[in-house]
Subunit: 269 residues, 4 copies
């Protein structure tokens, strides 16, 4: 069934960004706030990443929010803040693109371009995002089959991208106590068939900070290639998705536990 | 839960396009091929619509296809064909917009702008599509909750649109013998709470021409405001979704049956 | 894929119970309270059915309730009430069996044995219920594929039953505003491939009395073989599922509308 | 929402069977063939368990199969084989009960009674299975919410059982490349709120032996209380679910890896 995706076979199995490696046995970390909100918030976040040894900062500027009346991100106003923080802390940056103008605005600061869950099958955007010689993180849509997901990745490949980072961020299921259901089995299947690195986003999958640590340890133990997490200097004050943000202390502890697990158990398999 | 959608209450309950009325008791028809493919195919389609008394022709020019290697539509090359057929047969036209450039290309010929299922939560596109003083048909995404769907409609309203045509086109479920599952109950619930007309797309819901007629009769009997159907002069030769296209004869028969049902039974409720 | 169900082909396409016919063009009605609760409630229900011209009374005695602390039905204590009401009003009766002892208890009064949604894949029960030479109504489980559903019906057939009445009662989907989603397309597909009559249960599908009437009209217009509805003399006082019960007046009105639709439009196809 | 389940709070957080402990920090193992098929197959399986240090043997005797024409298990004929193997190898045994007669047949040999996924909401069976002073493993149904699952467990508790072992065996989702989707997040949520131990069944969740090992390591790293796996002396020859059976060598390797992970990383949290 899954024929006609010839370019995926040619994609990179290892993606390196600012010293952070995803794939080929390496477990890469991306973390940061859901949305960039202010200079103090961004600086505190960047400082936490630096301290934890995390090289890639995440932070939304163009936020796809369910309600038009919710905070839509700082948009272009946040670009300068990001440029500043990146320089000061020596971090790479990833952020979501939602159309051509957001993509153009982000090009000067984004080391990885992110396609979000809701735009996973937005083929016009996929055709565009693959052209810039930059790694693209493609989140799986929350009700997207593997066949659709891989075909979406092939759209990126067809527009020139060979560094595609797949990201399982949870699918919509019957389970009502978590926001989404992290499909670890599906992510492992992807890894078993295609070269692209696959990471997990337990923050969006669970929607609950208390579940982020065990799901991250699970992803590491199972052999995925990294995680993308939300962490905020003061979760209770964030303007979006506050329940799922780790505190800096929680992130620090989780990073240590995961490093310990990877050190002792990664070679086992 | 569903608060903060103040503009939906102000939307039209009746939308009239080229004499075709959706809502306030009227049952409107949209039909035509999945994709515009050639002048003969489009002319034959337009002629069928005219003969059936259907005033709105559908036809994709910018097709969001699962595979990048599938036919992506005639795109800008098809615009002139459409303009010609519209004029010759006196029809209105609806087609899917997928980004700013497709929208600009379609403005000269599209009387209704369509947002497809995959772009239902593409907020950048919603913000754009509502600005042109033209009715927008918003298809429900195949795994989109009613809360998300209504909030997506509010995005259109917030960008200026007050003529929003909702369209239930089937959701992804456990049923494996049809492509999607037409959620008639959900469509009826929408009508019971909000003013916007709601139509059904049984062609995409069923993915099977044999089920299109009974589902259309069901939609009419239940009190929905219209249907959007796929019909092709030679279904077996179409370049996409051939299994779900009605033949012209099937469409003619279905139109007559539905008119009969509406005449005798619409007043019953 | 759907091979090895040889006995289904031999099942009846028309099932007649106490003058009520399901299938071969006839639209049969089953109605009554969710649960049998008391003599006055049951008598009032039976009287309503009689007045509406509905020949089959439904009423749960052994109720599978989500919580062990909810009313579990009158169980054996209700059998005598049912026998009395049947005789007085000349009605047939259908009720759910959940195990061998409930089946034995119901045999003296049940003209149709019902297997409920939660027990659709309870093969031990299916092997048992088909042995008694009595029609069996098999509700589709709320997350059961058509392949599983048909195989479940084959279990009934393999134990001797040839009068199997299929019943679409809604499946669990992303739609959050109705209890379940009535899969009309799936029900139509069943009818197109197999002889067994297929009816709808809009009461459980919608979980909302306001949607029961339009969904019933839809089922009739689409060509299904009947409906099973919940109706209670005083819906607000019932001990289970009160929101989805029609009042006697609503049922009377709906029966008239549907008869009108069937008279004028059934011959159309 | 999840009130009125008072007895679950009183359930055991640690269940010990034949020296195997589930819960309170211990990670318990259950393994064996999908179905008991013959003396040589059962003996070889038991010998493998013994060698791996696994104390609880699984093996179906009363198999709920999708098709009535598939192998339904050895049923009562297999009881003596099980008794023999248990004695010879000093193992505990778990097997699925599907009704009263299978339960009575299994009582002499089953140390844990299993309720399978399809019978998760079979309340008549739950009322029965809790009465025998024996631990009950309750598999989550493949489309059952947590509220329904916990209420089902409360049925067991209400009939007297206080040793309830919950088991996440995968839910039905949009993912088409695995049989089901292991809901690790949901299982962790259960553990965070209720005392009962929660284990995973990666064999049924994935339906693919290649994914069983990484999912088991994930379950151990995340902090679940054990696993239930399928292992067969010659997977290619088994009469059901052959694709998901581990070979004895694979099970041996997995057991070692998991023990290593638990030893080095369990104390980390």
């Amino acid at each position: 069934m899954m024929d006609r995706m010839p370019l995926l076979e040619k994609c990179a199995s290892r993606i390196t960004v600012n010293g952070t490696v995803f794939g080929d046995g390496a477990f890469g970390w991306i973390a940061g706030p859901c949305a960039v909100e202010s200079r103090p918030q961004l600086e505190a976040s960047a400082e936490t990443m630096k301290r934890c040894g995390i090289g890639v900062l995440r932070g939304g500027l163009f936020k796809p929010r369910t309600s038009v009346y919710s905070f839509q991100g700082l948009q272009c106003e946040g670009i300068a803040l990001v440029a500043e923080a990146k320089k000061k802390y020596g971090l790479a940056f990833i952020s979501e693109v939602v159309d051509e103008s957001s993509l153009q605005a982000l090009l000067p600061v984004a080391d990885i371009l992110q396609i979000g869950s809701r735009n996973c099958l937005n083929y016009a955007l996929l055709k565009l995002a693959g052209r810039y010689g930059r790694p693209v993180l493609l989140k799986r849509g929350f009700a997207v089959t593997m066949e659709e997901y891989l075909n979406a990745a092939e759209y990126l490949a067809a527009s020139g991208c060979r560094e595609i980072l797949l990201c399982e961020r949870g699918i919509r299921t019957v389970t009502e106590v978590t926001r989404f259901t992290l499909d670890l089995g599906g992510a492992l299947w992807l890894k078993s068939r295609y070269p692209m690195p696959v990471i997990a986003d337990p923050s969006h999958a669970a929607g609950d900070a208390a579940l982020v640590s065990p799901l991250t340890l699970a992803a590491a133990a199972a052999g995925l290639d990294g995680v993308m997490l939300e962490c905020s200097p003061s979760p209770e004050c964030t303007r979006c998705d506050s329940r799922q943000q780790l505190t800096p202390d929680q992130l620090t502890g989780l990073k240590e536990q995961t490093d310990h697990l990877l050190k002792h158990c990664r070679g086992v398999r």
